[in-house]
């Protein structure tokens, strides 16, 4: 019974994000730059509903709902929506929604279609034994991926708009996009916040492992640790180049796009296929 309830709730979340995205698509089509009731209300409704579903799932499973692909994708989608609410409030522009919300729709759709665990698994039980530090380690790392996804969406927007402006063919897309400076700011800040969160996640992971002697023996050959480090370094390089000025604008945006594609590939290839619980398996 719980399985059916959770699946239905997951489906409802997909539907709400879908409706929200349609609202943004309509707003984008009509060329509305500022967010309106028709975009804000569905977004907040979807976010609140998603939060409620995560809480229900967490209470039912007895641990934070961030474990496994199901949990990770659900949490990434939720944190992206959360970040986007702040972004929209701060920047007063709704065009980002059209590029960012598809991630929330796709990720929650995967969660719904795959169907998550209805009872706590051994892996989850082992993870939850590690306590709050581990939960924060997971949340930090996953939150950083949300930031990188937003940077990716922003990067894509920047590249498209920059291309139109340089080609001097100002079309419908240009008229609907936020200014380049605004997009650049979103990319830079998202990369910066993502780096902080990933760094925090890694530090918390290391602290957690320090308390478990067997963990230190296996972490060196753990692909997850290396990929996380690789990703952190790649984004740190982009941010450094952007701040220095050499990669301000298009190059930085392209960097954010390429890096996220790398994150995506590494997440599926390494995290899901080669390792589940690193450091203590």
């Amino acid at each position: 019974m719980w399985g059916e309830i959770l699946t239905s709730l997951d489906g409802a979340v997909v539907l709400l994000y879908g409706i929200t995205w349609l609202g943004y698509a309509r707003s984008f089509g009509l060329g509305r730059q500022a967010p309106t009731k028709s975009t804000i209300v569905p977004l907040l409704t979807a976010l609140i509903a998603h939060t409620a579903v995560l809480i229900v799932r967490g209470i039912h499973l007895g641990h934070t709902p961030t474990i496994g692909m199901h949990g990770a994708l659900g949490f990434v989608a939720w944190s992206m929506a959360l970040c986007y609410v702040f972004l929209q409030t701060h920047l007063r522009t709704s065009a980002f929604g059209i590029f960012i919300l598809p991630f929330a729709v796709v990720f929650t759709a995967i969660v719904w279609l795959v169907g998550g665990p209805t009872d706590s698994t051994d892996l989850a039980a082992k993870m939850s034994e590690r306590g709050a530090l581990f939960a924060l380690h997971m949340a930090g790392a996953l939150f950083s991926y949300s930031c990188f996804a937003i940077a990716f969406a922003g990067g894509l927007m920047y590249v498209l708009l920059d291309r139109e402006l340089h080609s001097k063919k100002i079309g419908a897309l240009t008229r609907r996009m936020p200014p380049l400076a605004k997009i650049d700011k979103v990319v830079t800040h998202s990369v910066g916040l993502g780096l902080i969160m990933l760094g925090l996640g890694m530090v918390l992971g290391v602290i957690g492992l320090a308390g478990q002697p067997e963990g230190w023996e296996s972490w060196e050959d753990n692909a997850k640790v290396f990929t996380a480090l690789l990703i952190w370094m790649a984004y740190a390089f982009i941010l450094f180049m952007m701040i220095r000025g050499d990669w301000r604008g298009r190059r930085g945006a392209l960097g954010a796009v390429v890096c996220f594609l790398m994150v995506f590939a590494l997440y599926f290839v390494v995290n899901l296929m080669f390792a589940n619980l690193h450091g203590a398996v």
Binding site: L30, L165, I170, T174, L180, G245, G249
Partner: protein, 463 residues
């Protein structure tokens, strides 16, 4: 209450627009040459007198005049008569030959008049589709009418509906999107690159008219720090004081370029003022912060290769012209969607006027019935002087109830008849059982006429 629309429709027919007929008579850039338009135009200071003069005519219920450089149009609610007086007045004022008047001066009636004002307010009838000034001009026309007491409930409703529909058309379609003038296209591009312009520094090279116009537009959009650089220091000083800008000495141009965000170049120099090397150095110094260069000089001031530099956006006059042409084409495409929205607005307005008129007709029927009831009641009391006050009260109550019962069905009939008048209803030959037919029958049975008791009281012109 029905207006005989002989003069309007060329037949002795009852127009469904009881309470008055809306007309729009005028000339515009589409029908009249500029000299006619100039002569016909009514200046703001003349407007009160002209409006009051028209309002004194008994056949005119309400009136408003829209007068801009592109059009002069009279919007009126006629109680009787036709549009010939308006045609004559416009023709004489514009000195249009009598033979040409039918070509130069157009007249729209009822739905067409409503539709025309909606199109005008939304800029669909403008020379440049979607231009925003006309919205303010329409607002001004109705304001002047209200202030002079010549605009009543119906024209007020019409103009409010037109302004609302125009705003909707503008916000839900792209008819006013994209700059259509070169100077504004540059400003729009600057906004697309930088967003807010209030922290941006603008440099104008040379003193061309277009560059000054662009600087003015940039200022309107928030750019506060503007510099003028000219080979002639005196000319630069003069322009700077005129435009509240700062002077940048010509010999400091290269070193100062790094701090500028927008450069508008329009010198008369026979060679490039900004070469690739100069801009490259500036970009290095500004750590690749975007630089927007607008080259509107002929021959060009900025080397074309500068466009290849990272984060430099270079637009010359041909590029800007292409942008404006594309925007004009895009606006035209959006017209179809805007027309659909306007049609919806026109339907809503027509439904509102019908509801208003139905209310007026019902009031008249009830007033007629009340008069009959009172007369019969008085006669009864007079003839039967033995009636006690209680009996009189009971009879009065009975007669009122009976009257209400009898009028309930005709009242509902009037309402549904007005609702049934759809926009395709034939005015001159209403088909049997159509809204107009039922309405005309009801009006015939109850003797409803055009009267001052209608819901649309004629406003009183202010002296």
């Amino acid at each position: 209450m029905g207006t005989t629309c002989r003069a309007l429709y060329g037949g002795d027919v009852i127009c469904p627009c009881v309470g008055g007929t809306l007309v729009a008579v005028g000339l515009s850039h589409k029908t009249a040459a500029v000299e006619f338009r100039d002569r016909v135009g009514v200046a703001e200071r003349q407007m009160p007198e002209v409006l009051r003069e028209w309002a004194r005519q008994p056949e005119i219920g309400e009136i408003a005049i829209l007068s801009t450089c592109n059009r002069t149009e009279i919007y009126a609610l006629l109680r009787s008569g036709g549009v010939d007086n308006f045609r004559k007045w416009l023709g004489e004022r514009g000195q249009v030959a009598e033979a040409d008047r039918s070509k130069v001066i157009y007249a729209h009636i009822d739905r067409e008049a409503v539709h025309h004002l909606f199109r005008v307010a939304s800029g669909l009838d403008s020379m440049i589709v979607g231009e925003p000034q006309v919205l303010g001009q329409v607002r001004e026309a109705v304001r002047l009418g209200r202030e002079n007491g010549v605009v009543g409930r119906k024209l007020n409703g019409l103009f409010d509906a037109a302004l609302k529909a125009a705003k909707r058309a503008r916000s839900e379609t792209g008819i006013d999107r994209g700059a259509v003038s070169i100077s504004y296209a540059a400003v729009e591009l600057a906004r697309q690159i930088f967003g807010e312009l209030n922290q941006k520094e603008v440099l104008v090279l040379g003193a061309g008219k277009m560059s000054r116009l662009t600087m003015d537009n940039l200022r309107d959009q928030g750019a506060t720090t503007c510099f003028i650089a000219n080979r002639s220091a005196e000319r630069a000083e003069a322009l700077a004081s005129e435009y509240h800008a700062k002077v940048l000495p010509w010999d400091r141009l290269e070193e100062s370029l790094a701090r500028m965000d927008i450069v508008i170049a329009s010198t008369a120099a026979p060679h490039y003022v900004l070469t690739t090397d100069i801009v490259r150095e500036a970009m290095k110094a500004r750590r690749n912060r975007p630089l927007f260069l607008v080259d509107i000089a002929a021959p060009r001031d900025v080397a074309p290769e500068v466009a290849e530099l990272y984060n430099v956006f270079l637009y010359n006059i041909d590029d800007l012209k292409a942008v404006t042409e594309e925007n004009i084409a895009a606006r035209r495409k959006e017209m179809v969607r805007a027309e659909e929205l306007l049609s919806e607005g026109v339907d809503q307005f027509m439904a509102w006027t019908r509801a208003l008129e139905a209310q007026g007709a019902i009031v008249q029927i009830r007033e007629w019935a009340e008069e009959q009831r009172q007369a019969e009641l008085e006669r009864l009391i007079r003839n039967r002087n033995d009636m006690t006050p209680e009996q009189q009260k009971a009879v009065e109550e009975f007669s009122r109830r009976l009257m209400n019962k009898f009028l309930d069905r005709p009242s509902r009939g009037v309402k549904s008849a007005y609702r049934a008048i759809d926009n395709t209803d034939e005015i001159d030959q209403p088909s049997e059982h159509s809204g107009s037919w039922i309405l005309n029958s009801l009006k015939h049975f109850f003797g409803v006429k055009a009267s001052e008791k209608s819901i649309d009281h004629k406003p009183t012109p202010k002296s």
